[in-house]
Amino acid sequence: MHDKTLTEQASLLKARSISSVELVDHYLERIARLNPDLNAYLCVDEEGAKSSAQAADKALAAGNAGPLTGIPIAQKDIFCTKGIATTCGSKILQNFKAPYNATVVDKLAQSGTVMLGKANMDEFAMGSSNENSFYGAVANPWQRDRVPGGSSGGSAALVAAQLASAATGTDTGGSIRQPAAFCGITGIKPTYGRISRYGMIAYASSLDQAGPMARTAEDCAVLLQAMSGHDEKDSTSSTLEVPDFTATLNDKLDGLRIGIPKEYFGEGLDGDIADAVHSALAELEKAGAILKEISLPNQSHCIPAYYVIAPAEASSNLSRFDGVRFGYRCENPQNIDDLYTRSRGEGFGDEVKRRILIGAYALSAGYYDAYYLKAQQVRQLVSNDFTDAFNEVDVIAGPTTPTTAFKTGEKTDPISMYLNDLFTVSANLSGLPGLSAPCGFSEGLPIGLQLVGPVQQEARLLNIAHQYQQITDWHKHTPEGIA
C-alpha cells in the first residue's frame, strides 16, 4: 500500500478497496519499525490518527469523500497543532502545546487527511541538513549516513521512506525544495501569500511559505489545492482566486519557453548534477519546450542578502521565546535579566543564536542602512531580474542544489552550509513559486530539478513537472531497506 502514490491511494480509498483505518495502521506499523533509524517523526499521534481515519472511512462510505479523504500525512513540527506538542525542533518549545491549529492544519483536516504525527526539522527552520534539531539529526533514507537536507528534513525523509502518503513543509530559503532534492521526492514552495502563515511558527515572515512534499507533482497539486487560499488571520495571505491545480496537469508543453540561467551552471555545481539537469531539459525539449539561455545578473548577491534579511526578521520573531509566558524557563531565575538570558541561552541551539545575533546586529543603530536596507535593495534587484527574465521565458529551470546530500557532520562551517541555498533563495526573495522534482542520481543519491515560475503560476510548474514525470521514472525510484 505504501508504495502507491497519494493519488493512487485516494482512488483505492474511494473504490473502498482499502480503508483509511487499514492505511493508517499500515503506516503506523512502518513508522514503529523504520522511524527509529531515521528519526523523521518527532511524535506520532496514534489515537488521533485512528479516530480521524474512522471518520474518513465514514465519509468515504457515505460518498462524501474528497480527493484527500482518508490520506495519512505528516505535519512539519513548525505548524501549531491543538493539544499535540509543537516543538519547532527546539528545546525552548519542548513541552509546548498550542491552544489552536495552524490554518494549514485546519484546512488539511477539513479536506479529510489524517495526521499521523509531526515531522522533525531544523530548529526554527534554520538549517539545510536537519542537524540543527534539538531532537537529533534525521537520516537520509537513501544513505543513512547522509543528511536529508533541511529545514523540512523530517518531512522529506519520511515521504522518501514511505512513512506517510505526503507531508507538509515550509520554505524560507529552500527548506522544501532542497530536502526534496536530497531525498528524491517532489516539493513545491508556492507564491508568497498563497498559503496562510497563521499558526506556522515564524522564522523570517517575509520569506516563509508553506507547501506540500510528496512523491509526485500530481500529489503535490492535490495537497496544494487543499492548503491554499486567503485567510483573514494572515494579512499577507493573497486574496487572489486559487486556480484548479490539477485541471492543467495534462496540458502539453508545446511552445513552452524554458529559461536556463547561465549563472546556475557555473563554479561550485557538481558535474553529475549539471549532466542530470541538462538531460532533464533535453527531455522537456523533446516534449515540445523551447530552451533559452538567460541571465539573472544579481544571482551572486542572493545568499548575502538572504542571510541579512532572514536573520533580521528572525531576531525579532524569536524575541517572544523569553521564558515568561510559555516554553522553556531556566531553573531559579534570580531576576528578569537572568530569566531572559538563561532561558534563551539554554533553550536555543547554536545556529538559532548565531542568526539572532547576526539579525540584531544588522538592525542595530548605525548598521541598519549598510546591512538591512542594502539587503532590501538587493532583494529588489533580484526580483527585477526575474521580472526581466519572464518577459522572455515562461519558466526558469536549473538544479535545485549545487551538490547531492552530504554526510552528517561533514559541514562544520556555517558559510559552506549556507551555500546549499545558492539556487533556492532567489525564489523566496522574489516571492515566486519554485518546485523541485527528481531528475537523476549521482552515486546513489537523488538529484533535483528546480523550476521557478512567475507569481501565481504554480499550476504551470506542476504541469511541467507532471509531464516530465509521465516521460521519466526518476520519481519512482525508492531507497533500499524501506520495504
Partner: protein, 478 residues
C-alpha cells in the same frame, strides 16, 4: 540671565475601539487580569496581527480634525525590546511612515491669545500590558488585558514656551479627541497620557538645549507642575555651570518632583524595521471621504457659531465648547425654547457648573435633563419665577424631581406678579413700620432695602422683585 523654556508634547490617546488594534479581544477597562488577552495578545508562536479597521478610521478622523496630512501609505514597524509585559518582545508601532503627517493647529491660551502649534506626526501603535509588583510576594504579576490596546501617539513640535502653553495645548487635544469620538479622554485610567519634552535655552538663542522627557503625568495640574519643576531644575543646573543630561524622568506627584528613570546611554536600541506581518496600510480617497462624512462640528467652528449666531460672549463660548458633552447639553437646553441663548449659557456656566463641582458630578451623570433646565429658564424668563425661586426649582430638579411647572405648583413657588396682591402687602408693611417710614421720608433712602425685605418676607419670597421695587418706591414717596 533670562531663560526660554521649550516644550514639545507626546500624547498617547487610547482609541475608543471595542476590540484591540491587532486582535479581536475586548478593550474594556477594569476586567479581571488576563481575561481579555487572546493568543495574539499573548504573542503565542505562529499568531499574526490583523489591523482593526476602526483604528484606521479614527486616525483619519484625527487628521481631518486637525487638518494634518494623511499618510496614504503608512507602514507598521517593530520596536524591539525585552520587557515582561511586552509579549512579543517588540511593540508594533509606526516609524518612517506614520498614518498622520505634519499639521498646524491654533489654540486659545487662558489669556485669550491665540497660539500656533505645529504637529510633527501622529502614529498608530499598540499598548503594552501591565506589570503588577505589589500582588505577589517576591515576584511580579503580568496583566495583558491592556496589551494590544490601540494608541494614537500625537507628537507636537517644540513650540510651547511655558507650562501654561503646554497645558493649553494638552487641553485642546483632550477636548478634540473627545469631540471626534476617538478617545474617552479618561486620564485616571490612562486613556490620555502626556509625556513632555522639556529643555531651556538662553533667550534669543536659536538652537535647542538638551531635553529631558518627563513621563508619568496623569492630570493637567501635574503636567503643569512637572514642567515647572523640570524647568527650575534645569535652570539651576545651568546656572551652577552644569550640563543637562538627556534622559527620561518620571514625575512623582506625591513629592512633586521628577526623577531620573534612564539616561540616553542606557536607552534601548529599538532596532526598528518594517513589520513583515503587515502590508503597508493604504488609504484611498473614497475611505477618507466616507470618514469625512462622519465628522462632527469641531470645537472652534462651534465656538464661532455660538458667538456669532447665538450671541454668546467669547469666554463663555470657549468654556461651553471645551467639552463636547457640555456644548451638546447647552444646545439641548435651547431646543424648542425662545429665550435668549445667553440665559442658558449663564445658567450652565453658573449654577450647573457650581453644583457639579460641589457634588463632584460628571456631566454624563448630571441629574437634570436639558429639557427640564430649558423649561426652568423659560419660567424665569417669562417672570413666573424669580431667579432666586428658579434656583429652588433647580435644587428640586437636582434631587430628582421632574416637571418644572409641577414643581412650581406643588411647592407653591409661583412668583406673585399680581399688582393688587403686592400693593396689599406693601400697605401692610408701611402701616406696621411708621418710624422707618418717617426716617425714609426724611431722606434716609437706604431704608428702601428694609422695606423690600419686609415685603418679600411677607410674600414668602414670591413677589416679583421688579414690580415690588417700582411699586414700593411710589408708595414710600407718599
Amino acid at each position: 540671565m533670562t531663560w526660554e523654556t521649550v516644550i514639545g508634547l507626546e500624547i498617547h490617546a487610547q482609541l475608543a475601539t471595542r476590540s484591540k488594534i491587532f486582535s479581536t479581544s475586548s478593550t474594556a477597562f477594569g476586567a479581571e487580569p488576563n481575561t481579555q488577552a487572546n493568543a495574539v495578545d499573548l504573542g503565542l508562536p505562529g499568531v499574526l496581527p490583523v489591523v482593526n479597521k476602526d483604528v484606521v478610521r479614527m486616525a483619519v478622523k484625527f487628521a481631518l480634525a486637525t487638518g494634518a496630512a494623511i499618510g496614504k501609505r503608512s507602514v507598521f514597524a517593530r520596536k524591539n525590546y525585552f520587557y515582561p509585559d511586552l509579549p512579543k518582545g517588540y511593540q508594533i508601532s509606526q516609524m518612517a511612515f506614520p498614518i498622520v503627517g505634519e499639521g498646524v493647529i491654533n489654540i486659545t491660551l487662558p489669556d485669550g491669545n491665540e497660539k500656533r502649534v505645529g504637529l510633527t506626526r501622529a502614529h498608530l501603535e499598540e499598548d503594552a500590558g501591565k506589570s503588577v509588583h505589589d500582588l505577589f510576594e517576591g515576584s511580579t504579576g503580568i496583566d495583558l488585558n491592556r496589551a494590544g490596546t490601540p494608541l494614537l501617539e500625537i507628537v507636537s513640535e517644540p513650540d510651547m514656551r511655558s507650562a501654561t502653553e503646554a497645558v493649553a495645548y494638552a487641553r485642546y487635544m483632550h477636548s478634540l479627541v473627545r469631540y471626534i469620538d476617538i478617545c474617552d479622554g479618561n486620564m485616571q485610567e490612562g486613556s490620555f497620557r502626556c509625556d513632555a519634552n522639556v529643555s531651556i535655552r538662553k533667550k534669543g538663542s536659536e538652537t535647542l538645549g538638551t531635553r529631558t522627557e518627563v513621563k508619568n503625568v496623569n492630570s493637567f495640574r501635574f503636567l503643569e507642575r512637572a514642567i515647572d519643576f523640570e524647568v527650575e531644575r534645569q535652570i539651576e543646573i545651568l546656572e551652577d555651570g552644569g550640563t543637562i543630561v538627556q534622559e527620561t524622568r518620571l514625575y512623582d506627584a506625591d513629592r512633586d518632583e521628577t526623577r531620573s528613570m534612564r539616561s540616553k546611554e542606557e536607552a534601548n536600541d529599538y532596532r526598528y524595521f518594517p513589520d513583515p506581518d503587515l502590508p503597508p496600510l493604504v488609504i484611498d480617497d473614497a475611505f477618507i471621504e466616507a470618514v469625512a462624512k462622519t465628522m462632527p462640528e469641531l470645537p472652534n467652528v462651534r465656538r464661532t457659531r455660538f458667538i456669532d449666531s447665538l450671541k454668546i460672549a467669547p469666554d463663555d463660548a470657549h468654556a461651553l465648547c471645551a467639552d463636547k458633552q457640555m456644548a451638546n447639553y447647552f444646545e439641548a437646553v435651547l431646543e424648542g425654547q425662545n429665550f435668549a441663548p445667553k440665559l442658558a449659557s449663564n445658567w450652565i456656566l453658573g449654577e450647573v457648573f457650581a453644583r457639579m463641582n460641589k457634588d463632584d458630578v460628571e456631566l454624563v451623570n448630571m441629574p437634570v435633563p436639558a429639557t427640564e433646565l430649558g423649561d426652568l429658564i423659560k419660567r424665569v424668563d417669562d417672570g413666573t419665577l424669580s431667579s432666586k425661586l428658579g434656583k429652588q426649582v433647580f435644587d428640586a430638579l437636582w434631587s430628582g424631581d421632574t416637571g418644572v411647572d409641577a414643581i412650581i405648583e406643588s411647592k407653591g413657588l409661583k412668583q406673585i406678579s399680581d399688582t393688587g396682591a403686592i400693593e396689599g402687602m406693601i400697605d401692610e408693611v408701611i402701616a406696621a413700620n411708621p418710624s422707618q417710614l418717617a426716617e425714609y421720608r426724611a431722606g434716609k433712602e437706604k431704608l428702601l432695602a428694609f422695606f423690600v425685605g419686609q415685603v418679600m418676607k411677607a410674600s414668602k419670597g414670591k413677589a416679583n422683585p421688579a414690580q415690588l421695587n417700582q411699586m414700593l418706591k411710589e408708595k414710600l414717596k407718599g
